[in-house]
Amino acid sequence: MNTQETQVKATLLNLLKNIAPDANFEALGETEDIRQALGIDSFDFLNFMIGINESFGVEIPETDYGKLMTLKDIIQYIEAHRT
């Protein structure tokens, strides 16, 4: 993981901490299903998407939600789509 990716990951974890403050982030692996691991519902997930949009300026169409299951997926998606 390069520096930029590390920064993206740190921002993502911050967003998730606001959504699920009491979840165990130590245990969250990069290839783990975020929704399952953190107990995030569709409302929380929407807020996560809004956070990503605001932090990175990436527009995420609803049809892409299914591709964004893990931290790794999301980091790659952001890298590919950010302007």
């Binding site: 699920a20 009491d22 107990g39 569709s42 409302f43 929407l46 809004i50 949009n53 169409p61 609803e62």
Partner: protein
């Protein structure tokens, strides 16, 4: 002058702890303004007034825990005063005393478990008496009714309350009656573990009552969600991420609109009869991160647009999880909706929240084989269930409701 009493925020609430006053003597409040924060087993709630009024005296100190119905403050209603000044004859001045409490519709929900006499017979209680007893904190089982067949009436409750006041006034058990200067026993705000325990107690009380009293019937139906989801996807494409609508909002609106066709499922079972409610306030089950469940109401869901419903739901979830709900939201849901599809559950067999008479449950939307007109296709399918109170309605009403729900969902552009 009028008493402002500790309200009951649902069938499961017995006591409340004043956290803080939002007002001071002399303040003028409009209907719906927040008078105080009260801590219950389900968190801190903002208590609203139900009439325009002026604060005369605050009787309760913060951090005091008191039973439901305890007088918290003395206020006077501007409306009532005007009426008196205009010399409009008021039959019973005592009525004024509870103007604030009695004008709110949902007091019906303050009814706790149906009281029985010591020999196990059901008590006959008039609705007004029952309401008044809940407001005044009078135990109905201790009253001898003077109405027909021993029915307890309003005057019996007033008499009992007056008697109890006389007996109990000197007792220290009522911190209520003390002026502010007297130190009242401080109730410490609960820790997380205590909150958990309290939340479980509250859920236990309401659900045990439901299981004990309500003969549930269950119906389920599979709904083809392909068209509504496709429609929503198109709608959401036009929107920025933060304005997108979640599929559950379609379910809320379709439920509300189906209830306008089948009103029998929207209301309360009180005094051995169904009271259909005109307004549709959907209690939306929201789970708390730390465990437990709250079902605050989305008011007038049938008349709100999808955008308004999404905003209302967002606001409600954020305030529920942040622990800042308003009293009215906890008191007046007319039906409950629960959606467990996010966790991958296929169907929900709900337990009705008394005195409501129905609960609608939604499971996960999954791709399934779907046969229609001799053709086999793959569709997005969801199971909707209805738990109905068989005292209030029969299965055919529930069946009509599920059918209406399906019809509503198949025309999402009209939701």
């Amino acid at each position: 002058m009028t008493d402002f009493c500790m309200p009951s925020l649902g069938a499961d609430m017995k006591t409340g702890t004043l956290v803080k006053w939002h007002v001071k003597p002399g303040d003028r409040l409009k209907r719906g303004d927040i008078i105080a924060d009260v801590e219950t087993d389900k968190g801190i709630m903002e208590i609203e007034v139900f009439e325009d009024c002026v604060i005369d005296e605050l009787l309760l100190k913060p951090e005091t825990e008191v039973p439901v119905g305890t007088v918290m403050a003395k206020i006077h209603s501007e409306v009532a005063k005007k009426v008196t000044e205009a010399k409009v004859p008021i039959k019973e001045t005592a009525k004024e005393k509870h103007l604030i409490e009695s004008t709110k519709p949902p007091v019906k929900t303050t009814v706790t478990s149906t009281p029985v006499t010591t020999d196990g017979k059901r008590l006959r209680v008039s609705p007004i008496a029952r309401k008044l007893a809940a407001e005044l904190g009078v135990d109905l089982t201790q009253i001898k009714g003077t109405g027909a067949e021993g029915a307890i009436q309003e005057r019996d409750v007033r008499q009992a309350a007056a008697l109890a006041d006389k007996v109990e006034e000197p007792a220290i058990e009522r911190p209520v009656e003390k002026p502010l200067e007297t130190p009242a026993a401080p109730a410490k705000l609960p820790s997380s573990a205590e909150f958990q325990a309290g939340m479980r107690r509250a859920i236990a009380a309401a659900m045990s009552r439901s299981n004990r009293e309500i003969p549930h019937y269950y119906l389920e139906t599979q709904i083809d969600m392909s068209h509504p989801l496709k429609w929503l996807e198109m709608e959401n494409q036009k929107r920025s991420i933060k304005d997108r609508i979640l599929p559950v909002v379609l379910l809320i609106k379709a439920t509300a609109k189906a209830l306008t066709e089948i009103p029998e499922l929207n209301g309360y079972w009180i005094d051995d009869r169904l009271q259909v409610e005109e307004s549709i306030h959907i209690g939306f089950a929201i789970s708390l991160r730390q465990g437990g469940l709250v079902t605050p109401a989305i008011h007038h869901a049938d008349t709100k647009s999808l955008d308004e419903l999404m905003a209302a739901m967002r606001d409600l979830i954020e305030r529920t999880r942040g622990g800042r709900l308003r009293s009215s939201e906890l008191m007046d849901a007319t039906i409950t909706l629960t959606s467990l599809g996010d966790i991958g559950v296929e169907k929900v067999f709900g337990v009705i929240y008394p005195p409501q008479v129905a609960l609608v449950g939604f499971g996960k939307i999954t791709e399934q084989p779907w046969a229609e007109r001799g053709m086999l296709d793959v569709r997005s399918v969801m199971t909707a269930t209805l738990a109905g109170d068989h005292r209030a309605t029969d299965g055919i009403i529930g069946a009509r409701f599920l059918q209406a729900l399906n019809t509503q969902l198949q025309t999402p552009e009209q939701l």
